[in-house]
């Protein structure tokens, strides 16, 4: 049985090793390789690329990207929670309709969704044209090609990542605990703050992880909606691979990005397990 099963699984396991494990190891190795004066890769190992990351220029970009990711995560939480709450209060039938409508735009390519905002927000765009026709403004507002636009694009694109897990944990919520709080005279706000929110923490953490990881490596939105100053770590990595042709440095940056993302996931999981433990107690 085991032997037969081994044959069954050989090809998929081999595939994942060749196309996932081996490339991952190659990136890590490349990030330590020395680079010659002509940009060629030498067979020597060095820490110089990681040292170069400590340069204020790159630390600044890394920090900006992390701050952006944190802000996007918090905004998704604040904006997405009430929506998830509303969906969880609908009948089964309507829940499905709402979920489908939330997931639908989410399944469409990020590039197209960012482009759709460009049509709305650019100087000759729908919003500026409408405002000018109404006489509310005389000059087009600079709605696009700045950090605010990047923030909008990312929150817009990643919101469903928060709504879905929060909805699932709200669905599993034991309503009797909420009724008990009301019976004890809690106001709706207090009941929410002391009962609903703590019990749905696992969903919040899953959603936060998904949003954070996706926004940390994002390069499409800053490129389409951002200005010259909006480059995030994803754009710098992309640039190292395509224009600057410094693969070892780009690899080092992507290793750091991936480690930070995985560390965040690990932290969230620990918090998740602690929250789960409290719920049972």
């Amino acid at each position: 049985m085991l032997r037969r099963g081994g044959i069954l699984a050989f090809f998929p396991l081999a595939w994942m090793i060749v196309f996932f494990v081996v490339p991952t190891v190659l990136v890590v190795l490349l990030s330590f390789r020395k680079r010659g004066t002509l940009g060629e890769i030498l067979p020597e190992y060095t820490l110089e690329h990681y040292r170069r990351l400590a340069d204020p220029l790159y630390m600044g970009v890394l920090l900006d990207s992390l701050i952006m990711a944190v802000v996007v995560t918090l905004l998704c939480l604040v904006l997405g929670y009430p929506l998830a709450y509303h969906i969880s209060r609908q009948s089964r039938r309507w829940q499905r309709v709402w979920l489908f409508l939330v997931i639908l735009p989410f399944m469409i390519n990020f590039l197209i969704r960012s482009y759709a905002w460009v049509i709305l927000l650019r100087a000759q765009g729908v919003v500026n044209t409408a405002l000018m026709k109404l006489g509310l403004i005389s000059q087009p507002l600079p709605l696009l090609y700045n950090d605010g636009a990047v923030l909008l694009g990312m929150v817009y694109g990643l919101l469903p990542f928060m709504v879905l897990p929060v909805y699932i944990s709200l669905e599993r919520l034991d309503r009797r605990k909420l009724e008990a709080a009301y019976d004890l005279g809690a106001t709706p706000l207090r009941a929410f703050w002391h009962v609903t929110l703590p019990l749905t923490m696992p969903g919040v953490l899953t959603g936060a992880t998904l949003v954070f990881v996706s926004s940390a490596g994002m390069f499409v939105v800053p490129e389409v909606m951002g200005g010259a100053q909006s480059a995030l770590i994803g754009n710098v990595i992309q640039n190292q691979f395509l224009s600057a042709r410094n693969w070892p440095f780009g690899s080092a940056m992507s290793v750091i990005l991936t480690l930070v993302s995985l560390a965040m996931i690990a932290l969230m999981y620990r918090a998740f397990r602690t929250a789960g433990g409290k719920e049972q107690a």
């Binding site: 037969r4 099963g5 069954l8 699984a9 090809f11 998929p12 396991l13 595939w15 994942m16 196309f19 996932f20 494990v21 490339p23 991952t24 190659l26 990136v27 009430p82 929506l83 709402w98 489908f100 409508l101 939330v102 997931i103 639908l104 735009p105 399944m107 469409i108 390519n109 590039l111 197209i112 969704r113 960012s114 482009y115 759709a116 460009v118 049509i119 709305l120 650019r122 000759q124 729908v126 044209t129 817009y156 919101l159 106001t187 709706p188 990881v213 996706s214 490596g217 390069f219 490129e223 994803g234 990595i237 691979f241 693969w247 992507s254 990005l257 991936t258 993302s261 995985l262 996931i265």
Partner: protein, 270 residues
């Protein structure tokens, strides 16, 4: 009384968010039918941008590439993913091996893209359709494994055991009992994989060669040059295809749920 006020506020808010989620896409599609080149001014309905798309050889080539890559990736991912899920399901300790299928989903897309680019350049494989297909298969396999594993734990072992008791060989049991039960999960995983392959930009961006431009890559090139009604039309087509695929996947999934439920009451009788 207080609770109702809050609830109504949340309902209004939720409808507003839903509107914001869909408005940009509705505007995008609406302006793909606009007669004027300037997006903001509406000057009448036209099909001409769609007509010009289908007269554009580069668009047709990108469309052909996208469909070919999505079809190949989906089929290969299913052929590899289904045996992997069956094997994982039979194992007692699967934490280590299942990590091989879950971990890629936790990696940032950009990392997967450049890692595969490095692999292909080290192996001196020229970038083209097959490097893109290999990359897409790698992110589609986890989807198939996830869907099929979920279905396998849903159907239980009773039917397989019954088949064995009636003298079926393992091969007969798999092809006549297990596989038909898994079919809805496989089909919806394949439809989702197809959608993901068709829509992928980041990973494809790194591993595509000059001859393997897909639709998202082509759109990227156009978007960098600015807004134009052709991009609207092309984007609108992709949105339509995505919606269609998702709707079919959902229908298949729902139809698939019914036989599994029909099996459950019988289980209690035995």
């Amino acid at each position: 009384m207080g609770r109702n006020v809050y609830r109504r506020a949340v309902a209004v808010y939720s409808a507003a968010i839903l509107a914001v989620l869909h408005a940009p896409l509705v505007v995008l599609i609406a302006y793909s039918f606009n007669d004027s080149r300037i997006n903001a001014a509406w000057s009448g309905f036209t099909w001409k941008w769609y007509v010009s798309l289908f007269g554009n050889e580069r668009v047709l080539e990108a469309l052909g590439n996208s469909l070919y890559i999505a079809a190949m990736s989906t089929v290969i991912a299913a052929l590899l993913g289904v045996p992997a899920a069956v094997w994982l399901h039979r194992r007692r300790q699967r934490a280590l091996w299942s990590g091989l299928f879950y971990l890629p989903q936790l990696m940032p897309d950009i990392f997967m893209g450049l890692a595969l680019l490095i692999l292909f350049s080290r192996l001196e494989i020229p970038l083209g359709k097959w490097t893109v297909i290999a990359a897409h298969v790698t992110f589609c396999i986890p989807v198939v494994v996830l869907f099929v594993l979920a279905r396998l734990s849903g159907i239980g072992r009773e039917l397989e055991e019954a088949a064995y008791d009636l003298g079926a060989t393992p091969r007969q049991t798999f092809f006549r009992v297990t596989l038909p039960l898994l079919l809805p999960a496989i089909v919806s995983a394949m439809l989702l994989s197809f959608t993901m392959s068709l829509d992928d930009f980041v990973i494809t961006f790194f591993v595509a060669g000059p001859e393997s431009t897909t639709l998202p890559l082509y759109i990227y090139g156009l978007v960098k040059r600015g807004v134009s009604p052709e991009v609207n039309a092309l984007s609108a087509l992709m949105v339509a295809v995505t919606i269609l695929l998702l709707a079919v996947a959902e229908l298949v999934r729902r139809r698939g749920e019914t036989p599994a439920r029909a099996v459950q009451p019988k289980r209690k009788e035995t």
